[in-house]
């Protein structure tokens, strides 16, 4: 796992690409270590971070690395609150505070299992960097199955971050009109010698956890939670651990073995 440099660092935004309802924020990070797939960073705009709706944002926002290309970090954003809105408004040349890479990573399939990557909405981000890594480092492994679910066509535009995806939308405007977990159930019925890599809304992850537990399929889930710090200091981002107590999503996750969870809780965070 890559260690983060101590202290936040100032990066320059090199580009912002429009992917339907999403923005792909790109920032040059010449001194930053390459993130491991699944890791995240804490992001804050250097200027005008605060003074928005309800005098927010104040805290940085946790965001998974979507890609790492030649010293450039990519983050996938959706405007869901004052922090993500400000990040979406960044323009090339503006400055961004970054602390990271932080947290745990996705681990390669074992026992000859095939990889299934399943993502929902903006949660497809860490699966993109994981697919890049699988293609580069494990070219001998059979190509991963990629299942992506979105609310509508404007969000399904994010699917271009991944290669050969099967797509579902809630309104049927792109791909199949279905829940992405219905595709997963069919995949696992066909061949359950697989390992699941999933990221997305909590109800989707909970459905994935149940489907995999029923079939004894190992699953690595990338969780989301409202965070203040991202490096284990605040104890604010916890989720219940199976058998009692809590996991800190920032340091025990964001990628956790589904077996560590009794259930996937609703995200513990206000619109960020």
């Amino acid at each position: 796992m890559a260690l983060a440099p101590f202290g936040r660092r100032l990066l320059r935004v090199s580009g912002v690409d429009e992917l339907g309802a999403y923005r792909l924020l790109r920032a040059g990070d010449p001194d930053g270590p390459a993130p491991a797939p699944g890791q995240f960073a804490m992001l804050a705009a250097a200027e005008r971070w605060g003074g928005g709706e309800d005098e927010r944002p104040y805290l940085p926002r946790a965001c998974s690395y979507a890609r790492w290309r030649d010293g450039e970090a990519h983050f996938l954003l959706e405007d869901v609150g004052p922090g993500t809105r400000r990040l979406c408004e960044l323009r090339p040349g503006e400055s961004l505070w970054v602390l990271g890479p932080l947290g745990t990573r996705f681990n390669a399939p074992a026992d000859g299992r095939r990889a299934i990557l399943l993502g929902g909405g903006v949660g497809i981000a860490p699966l993109a960097i994981w697919q890049d890594t699988l293609l580069e480092e494990l070219p001998s492994a059979s190509p991963a199955t990629v299942l992506l679910g979105f609310r509508d066509a404007s969000r399904a535009a994010g699917a271009e971050l991944l290669r050969d995806p099967q797509i579902t939308t809630d309104d049927g405007s792109v791909g199949q009109r279905a829940l992405v977990t219905e595709l997963l159930a069919a995949e696992l019925t066909r061949d359950s010698h697989a390992v699941l890599y999933a990221c997305g809304p909590a109800p989707m992850l909970e459905a994935v956890r149940v489907l995999c537990a029923e079939r004894a399929v190992p699953a690595q889930l990338a969780l989301e939670s409202g965070m203040a710090c991202g490096f284990g200091a605040c104890y604010g981002c916890v989720v219940p651990r199976r058998g009692g107590g809590f996991l800190r999503v920032c340091v025990d996750g964001p990628v956790v073995d589904a077996a560590e969870l009794e259930r996937v809780d609703q995200h513990a965070g206000a619109p960020a």
Binding site: G7, A228, A233, C234
Partner: protein, 299 residues
């Protein structure tokens, strides 16, 4: 800008607020050598240790407030024995490398409990001083020990004999007369006081959108799992300054000032108002190296 504080010689006046920096987690995230190369704190204050282990409050534990943060973490910790056995050796080794003395923060709901915590910790040479968290309800009255000057003086006097090491009393800002509480701590035998702790605060869970006022339910739930929490960050900076100034005018023991410090000029304000040390709290969450930046700018 070295500072003498309760017999400790410190390299600069910047320390951390209890519970805002997890040393072992920071070592794992950033590496020990990078952390020690510019360790932010001239002394390190542990999170609050209680007699029994605590898992902390149910989530949600955070709410982003206007220019601040409300937390209801609930003081999760491994308990006294877990701390002494499993955490203290690692913390002390790292602090030795970083040349920063350890101040252990403790909390108990009775004087007897606090005395036991102090006695057991006092035996450990890795610990240089104590901070006493008195923002804990008295088991008999339900009032925070630290909010009642009479109870506070009695508790501090009782536990004072449990250790010869410096004892800092961390005052609660949720009191009618904070200066009176500071005097009570001094009369009870405290070597220093620290303030301010977080201000009690609350947020409600989102209600149904766009309902007419009359149709709104009055039964909206609290957002935080612990119902109320503590407000910190820039939102409380001016409150902290007023309380530090009031306390400084009332006592003669040293003060650790904290509340909303983000930059050196905020630290300087607290020092000018009468603090000997300042603590960085919530700003550590936004930038773990904030304390180092502030200490450099103060030098």
């Amino acid at each position: 800008m070295s500072v003498s504080f309760c017999g400790l010689e410190l390299a600069h006046p910047v320390i951390n607020a209890s519970g805002t920096f997890d040393l072992l987690a920071a070592r794992d995230a950033f590496g020990a050598s990078a952390l020690c190369a510019e360790f932010p704190f001239a002394a390190f204050v542990s999170k609050t240790i209680t007699l029994q282990p605590r898992v902390g409050n149910p989530p949600p534990r955070l709410f982003e407030a206007p220019a601040g943060l409300i937390n209801s973490i609930g003081l999760p910790n491994k308990g006294l024995e877990g701390y002494l056995t499993h955490e203290l050796p690692g913390i002390a080794a790292l602090l030795g490398e970083c040349r920063s003395p350890l101040i252990t923060n403790v909390m108990g709901s009775t004087a007897g409990e606090i005395a036991l915590l102090l006695e057991r910790c006092d035996e450990r040479e890795e610990i240089a001083a104590f901070e006493l968290n008195v923002s804990c309800p008295n088991v008999e009255t339900g009032l925070d020990i630290g909010a009642d000057p009479v109870a506070l003086e009695r508790v501090v006097r009782t536990v004072r004999t449990a250790t010869r090491k410096p004892l800092i009393v961390k005052l609660t800002p949720n009191a009618a007369d904070v200066a009176a509480c500071a005097r009570a701590a001094e009369f009870g035998g405290a070597d220093a006081v620290s303030l301010i702790n977080t201000l009690r605060a609350m947020a409600l869970a989102p209600g149904p959108p766009d309902l007419a006022f009359a149709a709104r339910s009055t039964a909206r739930a609290a957002w935080l799992g612990g119902r109320t929490g503590g407000l910190s960050g820039p939102a409380i900076r001016t409150v902290a300054l007023a309380q530090v100034a009031a306390v400084a005018a009332s006592i003669s023991i040293p003060i650790v000032g904290m509340g909303g410090v983000q930059r050196a000029n905020h630290a300087r304000d607290l020092l000018d108002a009468g603090a000997t040390l300042i603590a960085v709290g919530t700003e550590n969450f936004r930038d773990p190296a904030a304390g180092a930046r502030i200490a450099r700018a103060l030098a």
